[in-house]
Symmetry: C2
Subunit: 256 residues, 2 copies
């Protein structure tokens, strides 16, 4: 019998999230899946790690049986501690999701789901993040099936050093999906507002609200592909250097 | 009298951090500085934003006088809410720091200090993050002076869309500084360990520890430049797309 792929599965919606469980069920026939996920929801934690508090790892049950490890940290913490202290050896793959809601455009940089895949790629492990393009009445079944198929495909391929995949699956019916699109991350600015309110004691507080993308229509852009019911796959990296500006900046002749 | 530059000053060490105050004192003669900073330390929060809790903005005093606005959120939250709800108009510049400790190499992606400058660049505002290369006995005076000089210089220059600067200043004496180096972000992996301990009730917990960089010696790399007592300036961006892999990924012929 061939050696099963060892898959580390995590997310940012927390270990009890239905999206994680749907993906777990789809992956477990293909690989040996270990779940190491945040004990609570960690949405929009970005690429955070926990330095100021100790991390705890608790065995987590589902329906009375062992299901995985719950960590009181972020998705990136989960990948770090899984690879550094929980798993007996480095996993063959890190998969993060299925996230409730899309991770496209500039929002990608705030995504805990994506940060877990990035952390996998930092550790040199083939990794992808997968998100479902809706916040309401999610049906994760097709996205889970697609995630499993992608894992199978990735097991026979090589990603360049430092690259992971950011996958967004439309929330439509399976027969409405218009194929797969390899995309770039939209750089369009979001419309954001702060909703100013008064609490019962008369003190002001604010909610961040009204995120709406200034729409790009080119299907080679993640938001547009997803909106056209295509599965969007963006290869991403964590090298923040803007190489094409190095020479110009050097010519600024900055003095001490 | 020429119009003063409107500067938004923030950080991730919190509004009471000495590094922020040192930079404030240096900047206030050059610009009209508004401080909007986290009410508590937010180190290693990465590029996080607060969606699940309301944000509060409190006037913060120093030595009995108004000093700035304290926000119960992350550095990115501070920039968003400053530009979206606190300031009467968009600032001319966003400056984040001075951070206690360097923000170089892969650690840059976990940095709240850097994320504030990134947020500024997302909003189209010239921005930089500035950090001091030590965690112990910090003397922020030279870094503050350099930060002010950089702000003056930047006011007359144009950064490309989406680009901000990540500045790291050596913690040596001013006369030991070996000039300025325009650098790229080191991609070398850190040595990380988890220190496993037992709490007084016999339960296991972990500390993330032992971050040490596998050293790159090329002075064009941020960690190496800083280590050689050079001021490191890295132009960074937030476009995570790995463009050179788009075509290859398209040829994977992924099926639904």
């Amino acid at each position: 019998m061939p050696k099963k792929n060892k898959i580390l599965l995590t997310n940012d919606d927390g270990i009890d999230a239905p999206g994680l469980y749907a993906l777990y069920l789809a992956l477990k026939d293909f690989g040996e899946v270990t779940v190491v996920a945040p004990s609570t929801e960690q949405s929009a934690v970005g690429h955070a790690i926990t330095l100021s508090d100790p991390l705890r790892v608790d065995s987590h049950k589902k329906d009375g049986s062992f299901f995985g490890y719950a960590v009181n940290g972020t998705p990136a913490d989960c990948v770090k501690i899984a690879c550094g202290a929980i798993l007996p050896s480095t996993p063959d793959m890190v998969i993060s999701g299925i996230n409730l809601g899309p991770n496209t455009g500039i929002n990608t940089i705030y995504s805990g789901t994506v940060s877990a895949a990035t952390e996998g790629s930092i550790l040199g492990i083939p990794s992808f993040a997968i998100s479902l393009g809706t916040f309401q009445d999610p049906d994760f079944r097709y996205a889970a099936k697609f995630g499993k198929n992608l894992a199978v495909k990735m097991a026979g391929k090589t990603l360049p050093k430092g690259v992971s995949l950011n996958v967004n699956v439309p929330a439509c019916q399976e027969n409405e999906i218009q194929g797969i699109q390899i995309t770039r991350m939209s750089l369009a600015l979001y419309e954001e507002n702060f909703d100013k309110r008064l609490d019962p004691r008369g003190r002001i507080y604010y909610w961040l609200t009204g995120q709406r993308n200034n729409f790009e229509t080119d299907l080679s852009v993640d938001v547009a592909a997803l909106s056209a019911n295509r599965i969007s796959i963006t290869p991403i990296h964590y090298d923040l250097t803007r190489y094409d500006f190095l020479k110009t900046l050097d010519q600024w002749h900055l003095k001490q």
